[in-house]
């Protein structure tokens, strides 16, 4: 049994989706996250069992709206999508064909996707739009299955990933956070498709680094397509995935016998004593930052841990950076009060903190 499997124990692995893979890039310095994701642990379930459920949820209204929009874009064999792609990519009308990969059984979808893509590359003009393809991506020795919304293929021999999102583009502008998340997710698909082409012996660069983002325009449900360059996201993702294949180094630093096993009972409910699991999770160092609150299922657990340690990470990266090498709140305050002599390398920050303390006292009394 490899050591990552030992970390997961008897808990069934949680498949990675593109959103989870994209989120890996969010906090690359976090050992806890790298290990748990590498081992395929369901962090959401772990957080719930630890008593710190993640603060994420999606409104049924948002889900309905998202599904309705996707259905609209894909209706009648992606008619609306094809219209936009023709304009955006210059797809010749005669070349447009539509393949729904979902028509074959789920277990065959990946093989079928492979075959279709292979044929498309060999015959240049075969097939144009693939709906519901299934890609794979190796994550730390495990195969993750990914389902992009659509892949388009155009005559120039270039594949474009199409991502359908239901956030609105108003007067040419979308919510920057939503657009960035969509770009990160699309980059995962680009990487997966490039990997597939490489496996098939084709040039991976035939997958364009420009993805097509389809969103509702203004306040209506009418879709609009935009090209988004994801080269930067691809670079970040590649670096992060390369790092994850090298988890051995991180595992070596762990105490012997450490496992994140939830020990699910017959009903699949975790049965492991909470305190024991909490100790195990603490065994792998986290790097908490407030940004985790929007990306990681374990965020409340790690925040609680940071609070108990009095870590300055709690206050955000800005404060942490400003404090230089001072990691704890107590230490920083002791330096400011002059109650603690600065360690080597802390002289400058200690001087600044004492100055700041003197000024605050002067102004507030």
């Amino acid at each position: 049994m490899n050591r990552l499997d030992a970390l997961r124990g008897t808990t069934p692995p949680k498949p990675h989706d593109a959103r989870a893979i994209a989120a890996l890039a969010a906090n690359p310095g976090c050992t806890r996250r790298a290990l748990m994701d590498g081992a395929g642990i369901d962090k959401g379930a772990a957080a719930r069992h630890l008593g710190f459920p993640a603060p994420f949820g999606q409104s049924p209204f948002a889900i309905t709206r998202g599904n309705a929009f996707e259905a609209l874009v894909k209706a009648d064999g992606c008619a609306e999508l094809l219209r936009m792609l023709r304009e955006l990519l210059g797809l010749p009308i005669a070349e447009v064909a539509y393949h729904d990969v979902e028509n074959v059984g789920a277990h065959l979808r990946h093989t079928h996707t492979r075959a279709l893509i292979d044929r498309a590359v060999r015959e240049e003009d075969a097939g144009t739009v693939y709906d519901h393809p299934l890609f794979t991506l190796e994550i730390a020795g495990h195969t993750a299955y990914l389902e992009p919304d659509v892949v388009a293929f155009q005559l120039g021999g270039r594949f474009h990933i199409v991502e359908i999102k239901s956030f609105a583009v108003i007067d040419g502008q979308a919510d920057p956070a939503a657009a960035a998340a969509a770009a990160r997710q699309a980059a995962v698909y680009v990487l997966a498709l490039r990997g597939l082409l490489e496996e098939l012996g084709h040039d991976p660069l035939r997958v364009s680094h420009e993805v097509v983002l389809v969103c509702p325009e203004n306040f209506a449900n009418r879709p609009v397509a935009t090209l988004v360059d994801v080269r930067r996201q691809l670079a970040v993702l590649r670096r992060q995935l390369a790092r994850m294949t090298d988890l051995d180094r991180l595992i070596d630093a762990l105490p012997d016998g450490l496992t994140f096993d939830l020990m699910p009972d017959e009903d699949g409910l975790p049965s492991r004593p909470v305190a024991e699991l909490a100790d195990a999770v603490r065994g792998a160092a986290a790097r908490y930052a407030p940004d985790c609150l929007s990306t990681c299922d374990l965020c409340f657990f790690c925040r609680d841990e940071a609070r108990q340690e009095g870590a300055s990470d709690l206050l955000g990266r800005h404060v942490r950076d400003e404090l230089g090498g001072v990691a704890s709140v107590g230490e920083a305050l002791a330096l400011a009060d002059g109650a603690r002599a600065p360690a080597e390398g802390q002289e400058e920050i200690a001087r600044l903190l004492r100055g700041a303390e003197r000024l605050r006292r002067e102004c507030l009394t």
Binding site: S59, F219, N221, L315, V319, G330
Partner: protein, 475 residues
């Protein structure tokens, strides 16, 4: 944020209570602010769900779209909102003062102006979208909307724009203003939660602030759990009353928090520059009202190149002026500049009040002042200095060495041979000087819109509100 603020955050963690980072209030607070808490339907760009608003904390108005997918109900909601907001805005247009201007005709300025208070920055962004989705509508032609809706859209757009304008108090996000005056022991990201921030300032941090069952989100997004378990079933039941009451439970707690935030801010003394900035707000408000009166078209969807550059320059100058004014008004803000060496404070140890420069007719009074300070001074000799204690005066740094700073007063000394009493600080007086000065910066020379160069897309087409704007889908 500076190290001073970071230290205040650390102290807040230690004390379990937010720490002041300002000694005076830096925003104007109206006698009669309009608190406005909008909610939107999840998953939609700008579909209003409800709003709680009003100027009386004991009498909030609750406006609800009981079926958000119904276009008619949505516009009826906008009309109701207009029925509250537009009369409020217009009530300030009655009393005005005439302002004389150099090189321009005098104009009428409102004596007081409206003030829109929103819970957070997301609320401001939603206000902007509400404005965008209503200001192009027409009350006649195809798809007419109720009276007041297009006008509402223009005012909402105006308020959202002013909220982004540095130093303006016409529209403010409560979390931003609170965070400008108090440092909590949590991150800036978590400060965007109004309940959490108010708890840090008043009773100390509490996990309840993040529990949507105790403190529902301050909007405009609703809690997904509430959507699934309460709102969706209520809407399915088609009982308008049930939907209304459900939404009231989500808005009422935030309403109380908003007035608590108003009380917290009101308890602070206003800074010296607040009245002046509010005067600019009043002038801006009167200008907007005059534009509407003259029948100008609604604000364009996007600025042209020249208009955008001019707006950016205006905002940059406002930001610079706001930063300087706050430092002059507030010793605690000035302390940030003292920490970085751009300002210093200390005791006057020696003066030469009748020092002069030049001979004969060009002889000028240039008193010398020596200040003893503990602050690290990083200002090169020859730099102009200003001081909060004598705003009309200008000085110049002569030398700084070993905690003693010699400076020369160069402006505001008049023409006399000896200084007027009090003009030169006496030995023993505590003074503060800074290289930060609010010198007038001229507007950049920009071409007329019609002369926009080709590098910037050439002259923008004249904006004509089109029919398609007026009938744009809102689904």
């Amino acid at each position: 944020m500076s190290l001073l603020t970071s230290l205040a955050r650390l102290r807040a963690v230690e004390a379990g209570r937010a720490q002041p980072i300002a000694t005076v209030r830096h925003c104007h607070l109206s006698e009669r602010p309009m608190v406005f808490i909008p909610l939107k339907l999840a998953g939609e760009a700008a579909a209003p769900l409800a709003a709680m608003l009003g100027t009386d904390r004991d009498a909030p108005r609750l406006l609800v779209v009981t079926q958000p997918r119904n276009r008619d109900l949505r516009f009826a909601w906008a009309a109701e909102l207009a029925g509250v907001l537009v009369p409020y805005v217009e009530s300030f247009l009655g009393s005005t003062e005439t302002v004389e201007r150099r090189n321009a005709d005098p104009y009428e300025r409102a004596l007081d102006a409206p003030q829109l208070l929103l819970p957070n920055r997301a609320g401001v962004a939603f206000t902007r979208l509400l404005g965008r989705s209503t200001r192009f509508r027409r009350t006649d032609g195809p798809y007419p909307v109720p009276q007041g809706v297009p006008l509402l859209g223009r005012w909402l757009t105006y308020f959202a724009e002013r909220a982004a304008y540095p130093g303006s108090s016409l529209a403010m996000a409560a979390t931003e203003e609170l965070a400008r005056h108090w440092a909590s022991g949590q991150s800036a990201l978590e400060d965007a939660n109004l309940a959490a921030l108010v708890a840090w300032i008043t009773t100390g941090p509490s996990d309840e602030a993040e529990d949507p069952l105790v403190w529902p989100p301050a909007g405009p997004a609703t809690d997904p759990g509430f959507d699934a378990e309460v709102l969706a079933p209520a809407m399915e039941s088609e009982s308008a009353e049930r939907v209304t009451e459900a939404l009231r439970t989500q808005l009422a707690p935030t309403w109380r928090l908003m007035w608590q935030a108003v009380d917290l801010l009101r308890a602070l003394e206003p800074g010296a520059g607040v009245a002046q900035r509010w005067e600019q707000d009043r002038a801006s408000f009167s200008g907007m009202a005059a534009q509407i009166e003259e029948g100008a078209p609604p604000q364009a969807r996007r600025d042209g190149a020249v208009a955008a550059a001019a707006r950016l320059a205006r905002m940059e100058r406002a930001q610079a002026a706001y930063d300087v004014q706050r430092a002059y008004d507030d010793p605690l803000v000035m302390a940030e500049y003292r920490l970085t060496g751009e300002a210093f404070a200390g005791e006057v140890v020696e003066t030469v009040p009748d020092n002069t420069e030049g001979e004969g007719r060009s002889r000028k009074l240039r008193p010398l002042v020596v200040v003893k300070t503990d602050d690290p001074v990083r200002i090169p000799p020859g730099t102009s200095l200003g001081t909060p204690q004598r705003r009309g005066q200008g000085a110049e740094l002569v030398s700084a060495d070993g905690g003693l700073v010699t400076l020369k007063i160069t402006k505001g000394m008049g023409r006399g041979r000896t200084p007027t009493p009090g003009a030169v600080p006496e030995p023993g007086e505590r003074v503060c000087y800074t290289s930060l000065t609010d010198d007038f910066q001229g507007a950049p020379a920009l071409p007329e819109a019609e002369a926009t160069p080709w590098t910037h897309g050439g002259p923008p087409p004249a904006y004509v509100p089109a029919d398609e704007d007026a009938v744009e889908e809102w689904s």
